[in-house]
Each structure stands twice: as structure tokens, then as C-alpha cells.
């Protein structure tokens, strides 16, 4: 019988023992791989939001309630609207240090229009925009026409499809790249389209959203600070000089989420380390116990001509085969849990998530696979050494008595 056949016979001959070991290996690889993918997704989400905002400061009306409401809108996708006078834009021009500014206008669709939920409609100025346009260029480089919209990645509407808002048929001409945040659920349109939507809302008797027009009011202003100016100082100056508005530094808005993320990533790291240590200890104990249990079997193999080296290879080989199968099963199970249920994890964790690229995912899978395939044989190395040094005669005599 070849050593390969003997290996397989030994593994399948004791299914319960093999299954228990496979389970431990699967848990270890699943924890390392799954934990790493979740951590990377959360990290991607927060950095994509920082890049996506594109502005140093966001100015909203004081009624927006400090920074919480805007933060909820950006991160969790909570729909809402608040307005301030358009003259704020002119006043901001006078503030020293403001290099570029672009205003946005928020509107919320009626829930019945979209068959399932309210949608945040964001009207933006294409000429001055600094936070939306860079993400539109990938999908649509032309100017937005009347009733043409760009949809966030979390909306199922595809490019070219019609999206009804207040009964107005809007054509989706582009789709934004995914950010893993609340901005993925919004619809972006030009000011003219927004005005048309307000008129449509008025004609349908939905007046709560149509009291204010983009000609008179705006919802937020995104500001890029001139190089050499301190962002905090410019933020403080806006808050001091302009009444009724609240200037928020975008980084400070993300800080709370970043803190939450660091606590969660520390938790994930501790969990991965604990699972790895525990799995390694269990493997060591199991392999040592098995070595004692299988002394007779190995003594017989020695008698029929197995060399010490071949016996050691047999023990290490068994551990390696079990680790390979267990690691692959663990990675497959973790993939089935993390990728399809990523959106659910994002919802429950209340943190932005963006899955890492295929290369990173492959890298994490290889790390998890290697960790298990090195730990298993290492844990069985001591047993292999002991079994290769057994006193064959004594063991067989003990077995006879």
C-alpha cells in the first residue's frame, strides 16, 4: 500500500476524529479569513467616505441639529431635508480661505413613488461641484439634461432605465461607484430637474417638500479650503461670522465612525488571536493524545518495515491533509457568510462597509490557509518525533499482556 493510500485510509477510517480536527481547522481559517475581510471592508468604507466627500468643510443650517443629522444622512443613508437662505453662499465667498464652494439641495421622494422606500434626491450645481462630479465622470461625462439623473450604487435602477419621482419619468444616465455609505442610496440631479420635481410634487398636493425652491434656498455647501489656511480656523470663522449656519469639518464628522471602527477592529484582532491560540492548543493536545492512542498501530508499522522517517512523514502528512481540507472548508464557509451577508453586517454594525478587491481577498485567503497548514503540522511535529522513537518491542509486549 502506498503512503498516500495509507494516509487516506487512516483519515477516513476514523471519521469522527477526522471530522473533529477538520472542524477545528475550519474554525481557525474561517476566523482569520472572515475577520480580515470584515476588517478590510470597514476600513475601505471609512476611507472611501473621506475621499468621496471631497470637501474640507460642510456648511448646513443650524436647524440640521449640530452635525448628527448630516452624519446620519451621509453614513446611514437616512433621508432628510433642511434648508438655509441662498445668500449664505455669497457670505461664504467673503470668508478668507474659502477656495471653492458648491451648494446642494436636498429633496425626499414620496415613498409610494419608488414602490418600497423614500429616496434622497440631491440637486447639485454641475459648474461648481467638488463632491459629486469626480464620481460621475467614470459613468457619465456629459452635462445632465432635464429629467436625467445619476443613481447611487445601492439602487437597483440600471443605466438607461426610467425612475419615477413624483410621477415624473427620470432617465438614469449613470451610476455612481460604490462607497459602502449612505450616499449610495441617493439620486443626483441638476437644479433644473429638481425644480421640475418640486412642481410635480406641488401638482400632486405634496406641499411639505415644495415650500422651498432651489432658486431661494440651499441645503448644504461643500467647501474646499485654500492651501496654507488652517481648516479649523476657517470653520470657526464661518461659525462666528455667518448667522444660522453650522460649519462642520468633514474629518471631525468621520472621527466618531473611525473611533467605532478602531474599537471594532481591536475586537476582531483579539478574537482572531484567541481563536488561533485556542485552535493551536487544541490541535497540540489532540495530536499528543492520538499519538499515545496509536502507539500500537505505529509499532506494528515499524515491524512491517516502516522507517522512522516514514512514520514521521505519515503523522505529519495526516495532519497536513486534514488542515488543507479544513482550511478550504473554513474559507468557503466564511466567504458564504461574509460576502452575501455583507450588507446585513453593515446595517447591524452601523458602519460603512466596502468589500476589498479580489486581490486583497485572495491574499487574506492565502494567509488564513497558510496559518492553518503551518499550525497543524507544527502541532503534530512533537507527536511525530515521539512516535518515530517508540520502543517497538516494549509496546507490542504491553499490547500482548
Amino acid at each position: 500500500m502506498s503512503i498516500k493510500k495509507l494516509l487516506l485510509k487512516s483519515i477516513t477510517g476514523r471519521p469522527l476524529r477526522s471530522l473533529a480536527l477538520l472542524f477545528i481547522c475550519a474554525i481557525m481559517s474561517g476566523a482569520v479569513y472572515g475577520g480580515a475581510v470584515v476588517w478590510a471592508s470597514l476600513d475601505n468604507g471609512i476611507s472611501s467616505l473621506e475621499k468621496r466627500l471631497g470637501a474640507d468643510i460642510i456648511v448646513v443650517p443650524k436647524s440640521a441639529g449640530e452635525k448628527t443629522k448630516l452624519e446620519e444622512m451621509l453614513l446611514q443613508g437616512t433621508v432628510g431635508y433642511f434648508y438655509m437662505d441662498k445668500s449664505v453662499s455669497d457670505e461664504l465667498d467673503k470668508i478668507d480661505g474659502v477656495e471653492k464652494q458648491s451648494s446642494q439641495y436636498f429633496l425626499v421622494s414620496a415613498s409610494s413613488e419608488c414602490c418600497s422606500a423614500k429616496v434622497q434626491i440631491i440637486g447639485f450645481d454641475e459648474d461648481t461641484d467638488i463632491s459629486v462630479k469626480p464620481w460621475l465622470q467614470n459613468s457619465y461625462s456629459k452635462r445632465l439634461g432635464q429629467n436625467e439623473i445619476i443613481v447611487g450604487s445601492k439602487l437597483t435602477t440600471k443605466v438607461g432605465q426610467i425612475f419615477k419621482l413624483y410621477g415624473v419619468e427620470c432617465k438614469a444616465v449613470g451610476k455612481l461607484e460604490s462607497t459602502g455609505t449612505g450616499v449610495d442610496t441617493a439620486v443626483y440631479a441638476s437644479s433644473d430637474t429638481v425644480k421640475g420635481l418640486i412642481r410635480a410634487a406641488q401638482s400632486k398636493g405634496i406641499s411639505v417638500l415644495s415650500k422651498q425652491s432651489p432658486d431661494d434656498v440651499i441645503s448644504s455647501v461643500y467647501i474646499k479650503v485654500r492651501e496654507g489656511y488652517d481648516i479649523d480656523e476657517v470653520t470657526a470663522k464661518i461659525n462666528l461670522d455667518i448667522d444660522g449656519v453650522q460649519a462642520v469639518r468633514t474629518r471631525s464628522m468621520i472621527t466618531g465612525t473611525a473611533d467605532k471602527l478602531s474599537v471594532l477592529s481591536a475586537g476582531i484582532t483579539i478574537l482572531i488571536a484567541a481563536v488561533c491560540i485556542l485552535s493551536a492548543v487544541i490541535m497540540l493536545v489532540v495530536f499528543t493524545a492520538l499519538a499515545n492512542e496509536r502507539k500500537g498501530e505505529f509499532a506494528l508499522l515499524r515491524v512491517i518495515g516502516f522507517s522512522r522517517a516514514r512514520l514521521a512523514r505519515q503523522v505529519l502528512g495526516e495532519a497536513f491533509v486534514i488542515c488543507v481540507i479544513g482550511a478550504l472548508a473554513g474559507i468557503a464557509a466564511a466567504s458564504a457568510a461574509v460576502f452575501p451577508f455583507g450588507a446585513l453586517i453593515e446595517k447591524k454594525a452601523d458602519l460603512p462597509m466596502l468589500s476589498p478587491g479580489i486581490l486583497s481577498v485572495t491574499g487574506y485567503a492565502l494567509i488564513a490557509f497558510s496559518a492553518v497548514c503551518v499550525t497543524g503540522p507544527l502541532a503534530s511535529a512533537y507527536s511525530a518525533y515521539r512516535l518515530s522513537r517508540i520502543d517497538t518491542g516494549r509496546i507490542l509486549r504491553e499490547g500482548d499482556s
Binding site: 443613508g77 415613498s111 409610494s112 419608488c114 414602490c115 418600497s116 422606500a117 429616496v119 450604487s153 445601492k154 439602487l155 437597483t156 435602477t157 449610495d184 442610496t185 458564504a336 452575501p340 451577508f341 450588507a343 446585513l344 453593515e346 446595517k347
Partner: protein
């Protein structure tokens, strides 16, 4: 022994799919007295789940290897089809962060694929067994 375990596993997966589709991973609820598209996807999955459970139970109870294999072929085809119900055959809600996209669709796909893999393994094991019996 191996085929018994496979049969039981298929039964459990079919039951989880059926019960879960209207309980712990159900689609979105109604809004303003109206049902959304995902509600009909949920009904379709529950219906397919009931048929799968009946087939799986028959597969456990009946002893003939040929019938068992035939039933497993049926389970494989139906569970593979079930994976395409949410989002492909029947539309779900518009927002991808709603319950039908975050819980219902992934759970149905994962359980259906698992059931398809289990039934396929059972079909292969069945054909091997039938072949062995014929050659004896």
C-alpha cells in the same frame, strides 16, 4: 450510513428554507397596506420550500435506491431554481439596503446552493451504489 446523513441534511436544509423565508430571514413587510415586489418572491420561495421539504421527506422515508436517487435529482433541480427566485425571476425592492436584499436574498441563495450541493452529492452516491449493486 453516508446516504442517510445526506438525506437528513437535505430535509433540514429544505425545512430551514421554508420556515426561514417567512420568519427569521423574511422579505420586507407591507407599506401603507400595499405589498412590495419582494413579498411575491417570498411567497414563491415558501412554496418551492414546501415542495422541497416534501421531496426530502419522501427521500428519507422511501428505501428504494433508484427512487431515492430520482428524488434527489428533483431536489437538485428545484433548489438550483430557488436560488434564482429573489432578484432574478422576481424583482425585489429598489433599495439594496432593505431586508429583502440584505437578509432574504443572501439567505435563500446560500441555503439553496447548499441544498443543491447536498442533493448532487446524494445523486452521485446513489448512482455509485446502484452501479455496484448491478455489477454484483
Amino acid at each position: 450510513m453516508k446516504r442517510t446523513i445526506l438525506g437528513l441534511a437535505q430535509g433540514v436544509a429544505a425545512l430551514v428554507l421554508t420556515i426561514g423565508a417567512f420568519t427569521f430571514f423574511k422579505a420586507c413587510g407591507g407599506m401603507d397596506g400595499k405589498f412590495m415586489a419582494c413579498h411575491w418572491a417570498q411567497n414563491a420561495v415558501v412554496l418551492v420550500g414546501i415542495v422541497l421539504t416534501v421531496l426530502a421527506l419522501a427521500r428519507i422515508v422511501l428505501r428504494d435506491d433508484n427512487i431515492r436517487t430520482g428524488l434527489s435529482i428533483g431536489i437538485f433541480a428545484l433548489s438550483a431554481a430557488a436560488a434564482f427566485i429573489p432578484g432574478t425571476a422576481i424583482n425585489l425592492c429598489m433599495m439594496k439596503d432593505m431586508a429583502c436584499h440584505t437578509a432574504f436574498k443572501p439567505a435563500v441563495i446560500v441555503i439553496s446552493v447548499l441544498l443543491a450541493v447536498l442533493s448532487l452529492a446524494d445523486v452521485i452516491a446513489g448512482f455509485v451504489l446502484i452501479g455496484k449493486k448491478r455489477s454484483q
